[in-house]
Amino acid sequence: MGEIVYFSSRSENTHRFVEKLRLAARRIPSGQAEAFHASSPYVLIIPTYSGEGGKGAVPKQVIRFLNDADNRKNIRGVIAAGNSNFGATFGIAGDIISAKCQVPYLYRFELLGTEEDVVNVRHGLERFWTRPPSKHR
């Protein structure tokens, strides 16, 4: 299985979700994100910041991480957190990264995720990493 790379702000919502998955995961640090590298395939899990019209939706640290071509070439999918109360921008960080990196938007959950979300993502990732080679990638 590939690993999980994730970002969580001090609210720790995304961190809590990733902890519940009990899968190999590394956190993009809040400071010094440049020193953080992903040299093997990974799925990215990130929160959506809510700005007007989706502006500022992807945390800066994640943008910096993805600006590194070596990190970017190993991303295989994205999972994003959000809140349906933000209307059209609900979980939009996943849409942005999916479009930018041309990888599937695998799953969307709210806040720290429910038990159902944890089960869906854990089983989903197991199947995702063991699926036959895809022509998409």
Partner: protein, 329 residues
């Protein structure tokens, strides 16, 4: 007031400190300040009068229900503006937190004022007066207000925050359901646009106050933390019990009670998550009517579960506005 006094016992002198936004102690304060000020709006920006023809298509009992629901929401916003956020300000740990809460307080006044704009645009004055009288006499509405006010009167900063998050992230939703329902049937769509602005604000308020709650909780002993957690779940269940009755009293006549309750469960879980707690209501009790979810968030019913294997191979996100100056590729 939380003008912080810097006590230096040796000199017995204290200084009143001016807030410095260039020295941030908690980055969330600045982040949320920017979010809230960026989201600022006034009801005048929404063309409510376009809903006049639509309002006329509602049956008299549907109009009465809508006015009552909005009056109930006005009451909660009034509490939050005049009491809730003011009480939380007294507990602020940083001066920036106090400033953010002053924004929250003002926006609650804007929300309360918005319902009056809806009334003056769509409704007859005697009907609105009747609803205000109803709000003072409805036992469930009064009981929910009393339960929240009781917590705001305590000395415990964390219990006040729990009550505040439950109000922001849970108690509003028996009311928010109705404009989402009308909107899903292409009725009162401008009013729904205004309510969506309120919902977005309340989501940030619940998130921020829940975040501050968790920072406060970190400083407590394991025993005290457990005590607060028990308190929070007890209060939620007590509020839920009352909320279910309030919902029945309002929605039984239009046959929507069970649908509203699912929306309540779903939002009660989110309120708990804002406090850092696990969801309480099981997934099957939270299957909100897709039409309501979709009125809340236009893409909420889109399949964002690649894993389930339903639908086409997978969806690559649509191109969306990004801050291209930040992206190098």
């Amino acid at each position: 007031m939380n003008i912080q006094l810097k006590n230096k016992p040796a000199k017995a002198a204290s200084a009143v400190r001016a807030i410095n936004w260039n020295r941030i102690e908690d980055e969330k304060d600045l982040e949320v300040w920017n979010r809230l000020t960026g989201n600022f709006w006034l009801p005048e920006k929404v063309p409510l009068s376009n809903d006049i023809p639509s309002w006329a298509t509602l049956r008299p009992e549907e109009q009465q229900l809508t006015i009552r629901v909005f009056t109930g929401l006005t009451l909660l916003d009034t509490i939050q503006n005049g009491v809730g956020s003011v009480k939380l300000m007294g507990d602020a740990v940083t001066q920036h937190e106090e400033a953010v809460l002053s924004n929250i307080s003002f926006m609650e006044a804007v929300h309360a004022r918005s319902y009056s704009s809806i009334f003056s645009t769509l409704c007859l004055t005697p009907d609105v007066d009747d609803a205000y009288r109803w709000s003072e006499e409805n036992e469930f509405l009064q009981h929910k207000s009393a339960m929240i006010m009781e917590q705001y009167a305590t000395d415990d900063p964390l219990k006040k925050k729990v009550a505040s998050v439950f109000l922001e992230s849970f108690l509003f939703y028996s009311g928010f359901y109705l404009p989402m329902y009308w909107s899903s049937r292409a009725k009162l769509t401008n009013t729904a646009d205004l309510i969506r602005l309120i919902i977005r604000d309340e989501a940030v308020h619940g998130y921020y106050i829940g975040y501050k709650f968790q920072r406060g909780l970190e400083k407590l002993s394991e025993e005290r933390r457990q005590e607060i957690k028990d308190f929070a779940f007890d209060l939620l269940l007590e509020l839920y019990d009352n909320e279910a009755k309030y919902t029945q009293a309002l929605y039984d006549s239009v046959g929507l009670t069970e649908d509203v309750k699912k929306f309540l469960h779903y939002n009660a879980n989110k309120a708990l998550m804002n406090l850092g707690y696990e969801a309480l209501f099981p997934a099957e009790a939270c299957k909100v009517n897709p039409a309501i979810l979709s009125a809340l968030s236009p893409n909420a019913d889109e399949n964002h579960d690649f894993f389930s294997g339903s639908g086409s191979s997978y969806v690559i996100g649509k191109a969306v506005a990004t801050e291209d100056e930040d992206w190098d590729f």
